[in-house]
Structures are given as structure tokens and as C-alpha cells.
């Protein structure tokens, strides 16, 4: 799967018309100069050969050099990745810790207070993309109230408290939108399970609502929840790239956007491969988790 997506990233970047050598050589470069650049980049070789060479280098940790400033791509990524990953991780945790409990409460008690909270919450968040809520938070807590810094990033190892303060707003902006989607799916999954006979049996045995929901209903509705949560990992990655721009955090978002503007395709290609492999890995973990959640899956 990882291999397949690496082929895809590679092919998409190659098959789309437009020539990186053209872009690199400059607007008024002679055809000879363009051809020279093309040989330098190895673009004159057949596409499958280019792919194999690139993949071989990738496995060895060599992602080539940025065509713009000559720095190794792996070094650029090493500098920018921690910022993006910590943002994505914290946002993901926020999404899970708001989304799942809210969805369970709403699903277990349809038309209750929590169900209304969820409806109101989704209504507010569906119209507001994460970068817009980011600006809203930035304006409210950063500019008007001045509680949180409005831009930049501090490494966690250098100053944990300041690092978290810098993370709070972007992570909340990103996590809040994802939480709404997750909560809706969780609600549907739990509500469906709540209608089953065995839940009625559990209730008839005299178990409290709490035990019924957490131990009986939630367990069986976990599979769709895990599926959606794993798929959202991709949304978190993509969202982090955008949110970084709102809060001017130096991360992969800025790296990729600058690289696109300069047609620095090696950087984009490597950054995308990294993001996509994280996404694929999270989904792999989810696939393995199914076996633990539902023993019936293992037997197949």
C-alpha cells in the first residue's frame, strides 16, 4: 500500500504537464540550458527508471536536494517536521477527546440535552473551515484578550509551557472541526447499537445506563469509530499544513507552500510522501486494531 501510494505521488508529479527543468532554468533560459538542467536532475531518463532511482535513494534516507537552495531535502524536512507533527498530534487528541464522548452521550440519549449540544456544535462548525476558526481564535484570544501568543513556535524541549501556549490555539482550531465530524459518526454508530436486543437484555438485568453504554454499546460501535478516526488522520495532516499558515508556525506547511510557489518539486514530493506514509501507517494500525476490538474479524 505504501509502495502503491509512493508510485502515485511520483506519477502524479510526473504526468501532469509542465516541466520542472523549464521552471528551474528560468524564464529566458536557452533550450540548451534547459536540456542541461534536465540531465542534471535525471529527467532525461525513462520514468520507471527515475522512479526506481528515487525510491532507492528514499530508502537510504536520501531525498535529493532542493532545486532552489541546494540544501538536502531530508534536512529541510527534519527541521520542519516536529512543528507539524506536534500540532497534528495535539489537534488529533483534542478531536478524539471532544468528539467521542460527545458522540457517545448524544447517541446513547437521543433527543437529550447532549444531543442538542451536538446538533448545535455541528451546525456551527460545518460552515466554518479550520483556517477561519483559526483566525477567529487568533482575533479573540490573541489580539483582543491577549491570552495567547499569535504566532511562532517554541520547541517543547526548550520551554514546555511556552510551547503549549503556542500550540493551544492552532490545535484547538484544527481539532474542533474534526471533533464535530467524529462526534456525528460516533453518535450514529452508538445509536444504532443501542437499538439491539442485547442492550435491552443488559438494561433488563438492571445494569445502570452508564455500564450499559460504556461496557456494552461503546465496545460494539468502536469499529466504525476507529475507521473514521483513522481516516481523519489524513485530514489532520492536511489541516495542520493550512493552520500553520494562520499562526505563522515554521513547519511543513510553509515549506510545501514555498516549494510549490518555486516549483521545487523534490521538496513537495518528499514532504507529501512523508505525510501520506503517516496517514497509511495510522490506517494500518486501525486495521490491526479491528482484530482486538472484534475477535470475529481475526477468524476471517
Amino acid at each position: 500500500m505504501l509502495l502503491l501510494s509512493s508510485i502515485c505521488v511520483f506519477l502524479v508529479l510526473r504526468l501532469v504537464p509542465g516541466d520542472p527543468a523549464d521552471a528551474l532554468a528560468g524564464q529566458d533560459a536557452t533550450p540548451e540550458r534547459v536540456a542541461e538542467v534536465r540531465v542534471q536532475l535525471g529527467l532525461d531518463r525513462p520514468v520507471p527508471e527515475q522512479y526506481v532511482a528515487w525510491l532507492g535513494d528514499l530508502v537510504h534516507g536520501d531525498m535529493g536536494k532542493s532545486t532552489r537552495n541546494g540544501l538536502p531535502v531530508s534536512q529541510l524536512l527534519k527541521l520542519s517536521m516536529p512543528s507539524t507533527l506536534e500540532l497534528a498530534f495535539v489537534a488529533y487528541m483534542i478531536a478524539l477527546s471532544i468528539g467521542i464522548p460527545l458522540g457517545v452521550m448524544a447517541g446513547a440519549n437521543p433527543r437529550s440535552f447532549w444531543d442538542w449540544v451536538l446538533s448545535g456544535y455541528t451546525l456551527v462548525t460545518i460552515g466554518i473551515p479550520s483556517f477561519l476558526s483559526g483566525i477567529l481564535l487568533l482575533w479573540l484570544f490573541g489580539v483582543i484578550l491577549g491570552w495567547f501568543p499569535i504566532s511562532g513556535r517554541v520547541a517543547f524541549s526548550a520551554d514546555p509551557l511556552s510551547s503549549l501556549r503556542h500550540l493551544a490555539l492552532p490545535a484547538l482550531a484544527l481539532g474542533a472541526g474534526l471533533a464535530a465530524v467524529l462526534a456525528r459518526y460516533t453518535r450514529t454508530a452508538v445509536a444504532e447499537v443501542m437499538g439491539h436486543d442485547y442492550i435491552r437484555t443488559a438494561k433488563a438485568k438492571g445494569l445502570s445506563q452508564r455500564v450499559v453504554v460504556i461496557r456494552h454499546a461503546l465496545r460494539n460501535s468502536l469499529i466504525p469509530i476507529v475507521t473514521i478516526a483513522a481516516l481523519q488522520a489524513g485530514g489532520v495532516m492536511a489541516g495542520a499544513v493550512v493552520i500553520e499558515q494562520v499562526f505563522t508556525r515554521p513547519g511543513m506547511g510553509r515549506l510545501v507552500v514555498e516549494a510549490i510557489q518555486n516549483r521545487d518539486y523534490l521538496v513537495v514530493q518528499s514532504a507529501l510522501i512523508v505525510l501520506v506514509s503517516i496517514f497509511v501507517m495510522v490506517n494500518l494500525v486501525a486495521d490491526i486494531a479491528y482484530g482486538f476490538l472484534d475477535p470475529r474479524v481475526r477468524r476471517r
Binding site: G127, V242, V268, L272, V276
Partner: protein, 303 residues
């Protein structure tokens, strides 16, 4: 005197025909009875009207920096309903033109992506065997990408710009339509009417596009409104990142991006374009829900 036999027989047939022909009207009727549908339709009509009439409604040009009374960061007033920006331009006009470009990109990208995706899905579903297997493999691996990342990959090569953003969004819409229309095809292609028209000597193209396509349409309509929502969001995100329209051409995402550094001086800079975008997305979302309920009346009631 009882009625002649032919009238007694034709009456139910006539009623049956009518109820079938008015399925479209019944769906529209259901949408208009649904409050979400009413909000969505009227909201969208208003927004589309504003976008089309942008040149007439807005008093100032979206890019002009020198006109009588021009000043930086004018607060909203009757003259400038949304205020002015750091270059003295009228934000009302910029928002309207941004809305227009956002709608234009989304509509053209979705229709393009849907056309290719649906045709490919129908062909894959109808043909079966290895054609289907190969096509679905490709679609699955495309679906694995988060849309924004896929769009970014395409923009790397094409370069930033409005047209290229449209192409990227269209491309990213193909897999979803392809999957859905294939699924529809699979459930329709073994029905009796397909065999009947096959027996009458109709070719595959006629069967697919003349007969099956009509019956497979409703779920695809829901997907169209969902895709519009995604396309508006994606194009706003991309222009927010500075990968869409080149300045000074206005776009909703671009306006929000430049408002960010002026939050201290001008709250209206972010507020109005942001609210416009949020309202557009909300309407499109309601639209998707309403269409879904209209074409499949049982969908909403199940849970």
C-alpha cells in the same frame, strides 16, 4: 351504466405513469417543504445573484486604490458596507468578486470532475472483469490521498493560479464520483429493463447513458452537492495558502489571508469575507442534506 372496459383499465395505468413522471417534481416539492432546503435554496440563490451581479451591485472596482474619498482601513459605513483594506480598496466589492471566482471555480471543477468520474464509473461497472479491477485499483489509491495534499501535488507542477486550482479540484473529485456511479451501475445493470433493452438490440452506450444513467442519478445528485461543498472549501484553503488567484485579483481565501496581519487594525477585514464563506458553506451543506432527503425520503428517518 358501467364505464367501458378500456377506461377502467387505463385509469390505473395513467395514474402510475403520472406518479412516475412527477418524481422530479415530488423531489423538488419535498425540498421546499424541508426548512433546511428552503434556507439552502434561498441562501444560494441570493449568493449566486450577488456573485453574478457583482459588477453592478458593487459601487467601487475591486482593485481600484484611487477614487474620491479613498482611505486605508475605513470602518464599515453606508458607502463601504464592508469597510476598506490596507490598500484603500473597497472590501464589499472585493468580497463579491471573491465569491464569484470561488463559485466559478467550484462549479466548473465539480461539473468537469463529475462528468469524467461518472462516465468512468459507469464504464467500469458495466464492463466488469479486468477493466473494472484496474480502474478501481487506480481510484482506490487516489482516494487514499487527503484532497488538499493531492491538490498541492498537482499545483506543484502546474504552478499556482486560478485555472490550475480548478483543474486540481476537478481531478480530486473524480474518484468519489467514479466509486459511487460504479456502485449504482452494479445495482442497476442486472435489472429486467436492462435485459429488455439489450434484447431489443440497444448497444452498451445507449443502455448506459439512455437507460441506466436516469435511474442511477439520485444518489449522484447528493454527491454533486457534497462535492460543491468540498470544492468551495478546497479552493478557499488553496487561495488562503496563496496558491490560487494572483494578487490583486480578490478571492475569499486570499482576503482572509491578508486580513490576518491586520486583525489589530480592522476587525471587519476578516469578519465579512469570513462570514460570507461560512454562509456559503452552510448553505451548501444544508443543500446536500436536503437533496439527500428529497431523493431518498427514508434516509433521514432511520437513525
Amino acid at each position: 351504466m358501467s364505464k367501458p372496459v378500456y377506461e377502467r383499465i387505463s385509469a390505473p395505468t395513467w395514474r402510475g405513469r403520472r406518479s412516475q413522471e412527477s418524481m422530479l417534481f415530488a423531489s423538488i416539492d419535498r425540498m421546499l417543504r424541508n426548512p433546511q432546503g428552503v434556507i439552502a435554496i434561498s441562501g444560494l440563490l441570493a449568493l449566486v445573484g450577488l456573485a453574478i451581479g457583482a459588477g453592478v451591485i458593487a459601487q467601487y472596482s475591486p482593485t481600484s486604490q484611487s477614487y474620491p474619498g479613498a482611505a486605508r482601513f475605513l470602518a464599515p459605513s453606508l458607502d463601504h458596507p464592508f469597510g476598506t483594506d490596507e490598500l484603500r480598496r473597497d472590501l464589499f466589492s472585493r468580497t463579491l468578486f471573491g465569491l464569484r471566482s470561488s463559485l466559478m471555480i467550484s462549479i466548473s471543477a465539480v461539473s468537469f470532475g463529475a462528468t469524467i468520474g461518472i462516465s468512468a464509473g459507469f464504464v467500469a461497472g458495466y464492463a466488469g472483469s479486468w477493466t473494472e479491477r484496474i480502474m478501481m485499483r487506480v481510484v482506490d489509491s487516489l482516494l487514499a490521498f487527503p484532497g488538499l495534499l493531492a491538490a498541492m501535488a498537482i499545483l506543484t507542477i502546474l504552478g499556482p493560479g486560478t485555472r490550475n486550482v480548478g483543474i486540481a479540484i476537478a481531478f480530486f473529485n473524480i474518484p468519489a464520483f467514479c466509486r459511487l456511479s460504479r456502485a449504482q451501475m452494479l445495482s442497476e445493470k442486472n435489472k429486467d429493463y436492462v435485459f429488455a433493452s439489450h434484447a431489443l438490440g440497444a448497444g452498451p452506450i445507449r443502455i448506459i447513458f439512455g437507460h441506466i444513467a436516469r435511474n442511477a442519478l439520485p444518489p449522484l445528485l447528493t454527491q454533486v452537492s457534497l462535492a460543491m461543498n468540498g470544492a468551495v472549501l478546497l479552493s478557499a484553503s488553496l487561495s488562503f495558502l496563496g496558491l490560487g488567484d494572483r494578487p490583486p485579483t480578490p478571492s475569499l481565501g486570499g482576503l482572509l489571508n491578508s486580513s490576518k496581519s491586520n486583525l489589530r487594525d480592522a476587525w471587519w477585514y476578516a469578519a465579512f469575507p469570513g462570514a460570507t464563506l461560512a454562509f456559503l458553506l452552510l448553505c451548501l451543506n444544508f443543500m446536500a442534506d436536503a437533496v439527500n432527503e428529497a431523493v431518498d425520503p427514508f434516509a433521514g428517518r432511520r437513525s
